[in-house]
């Protein structure tokens, strides 16, 4: 019986340690986000450095569920994007380096702004199966301190023929069979969602997550540029 107890302890320790083996933790890499604890995030129209015309729309249509599942309140995208368009500010992130952060805070109640820069969007994106390769920069900017409180440059490779990977692809692939919506379009949506899931993988959890303020010790896998 003693032996069993020991084995149990070892199993427990190994599984705990297996997730915490790196020096880079969420707390050491992103201390400011733990200080500020932003609740609400404003997603602004991305900056597109590529010729992929659909990229912005795809990222916009898929971001809210991914960020919300991280525990954040995503400010409703549709009314805000309508407002940007109506006021000639749809390209605001592309035309200025100095975002009106104070106004975002006062008008929308935004604690932080998520700005995505599309650096590379695979030309082979339009093939039906195979790998899709995109490179993006995600920046979370505080409207209070005006600092970047989390940042991630990520090259994401999505295997579009695979049914695994974050669940997003599998779920949407299953829908493919059952709907009349264009096959290709559905696949693009699934890819965009998978891109968000991978890029935001190490974003510290937000207020609504059961892991809020409990994930500081989790490792961060820094990308080699």
């Amino acid at each position: 019986m003693r032996k069993l107890q020991k084995i149990a302890m070892v199993v427990m320790l190994v599984s705990l340690v297996s997730c915490v083996t790196t020096k880079h933790t969420k707390l050491t890499e992103y201390p400011e986000i733990y200080n500020e604890k932003p609740k609400t995030i404003l997603f602004i129209p991305p900056v597109n450095h590529t010729t992929a015309a659909n990229a912005k729309d795809l990222l916009r249509a898929t971001i809210a569920p991914v960020l919300a599942e991280k525990g954040y309140y995503v400010l409703p995208i549709e009314p805000i994007f309508d407002f940007f368009k109506l006021n000639g500010a749809y390209s605001i992130a592309e035309t200025t380096d100095k975002l009106p952060l104070k106004q975002f805070s006062e008008m929308f109640g935004a604690d932080a702004v998520l700005k995505i820069t599309i650096e590379d969007w695979d030309k082979n994106y339009y093939v039906v199966s195979g790998n899709v390769e995109v490179e993006l920069l995600y920046e979370l900017i505080s409207t209070k301190s005006e600092n970047t409180i989390w940042k991630r440059k990520k090259k994401v490779i999505v295997d579009t023929s695979s049914t695994s990977g974050g669940g997003g692809l599998a779920g949407l692939a299953a829908n493919l069979v059952n709907t009349a919506v264009a096959t290709a379009s559905t696949k693009y949506v699934a890819v965009a969602k998978e891109v968000h899931i991978q890029a935001l993988a190490d974003l510290p959890k937000g207020y609504h997550s059961p892991l809020f303020m409990k994930d500081q010790a989790e490792p961060v896998w820094l990308d080699t540029p």
């Binding site: 019986m1 069993l4 107890q5 149990a8 302890m9 199993v11 427990m12 190994v14 599984s15 705990l16 297996s18 997730c19 609740k39 609400t40 659909n54 729309d57 795809l58 916009r60 249509a61 898929t62 809210a64 569920p65 919300a68 599942e69 525990g71 954040y72 309140y73 995503v74 400010l75 409703p76 995208i77 549709e78 009314p79 805000i80 008008m107 929308f108 109640g109 974050g166 669940g167 949407l172 829908n175 709907t179 919506v181 379009s185 559905t186 693009y188 949506v189 965009a192 969602k193 207020y207 609504h208 997550s209 892991l211």
Partner: protein, 110 residues
């Protein structure tokens, strides 16, 4: 004794598993993308149906929860079609479910 064993197994199983979804999203991304890509009455209606279905399912269910912004987006679209009274009810639901939405909901409702 048995408890320790059980805890060990549970920790081992949960250690690196991805978390389950907190909210129910239905076909949200797909119909929203379609609306952005093919603007018009058909896509608008389809997206409203998807939102209505999410609201209905989460209100009936004890396990499925509604995500941030769904009530507000539904209310906003009602407002755009002149149904301001109905819209107000959904804005109130958003504020109740997510108190941090107060500023943005007031902005949208204006």
């Amino acid at each position: 004794m048995k408890t320790i064993y059980l805890i060990a197994v549970m920790v081992a199983m949960s250690a690196c598993m991805p978390a389950k979804n907190m909210y129910y999203w239905g076909d949200y991304e797909k119909s929203y993308y379609n609306k952005v890509k093919n603007p018009g009455d058909a896509a608008n209606e389809e997206h409203m149906e998807v939102l209505a279905k999410i609201i209905e399912k989460t209100e009936k269910s004890t396990t499925k929860r509604i995500g941030p912004g769904i009530f507000a987006e539904y209310g906003y679209n009602l407002l755009l079609t002149g149904k301001s009274e109905e819209a107000a009810a959904y804005f109130a639901k958003e504020q109740k479910a997510f108190p941090e939405s107060d500023v943005i909901v007031k902005f949208i409702a204006k």
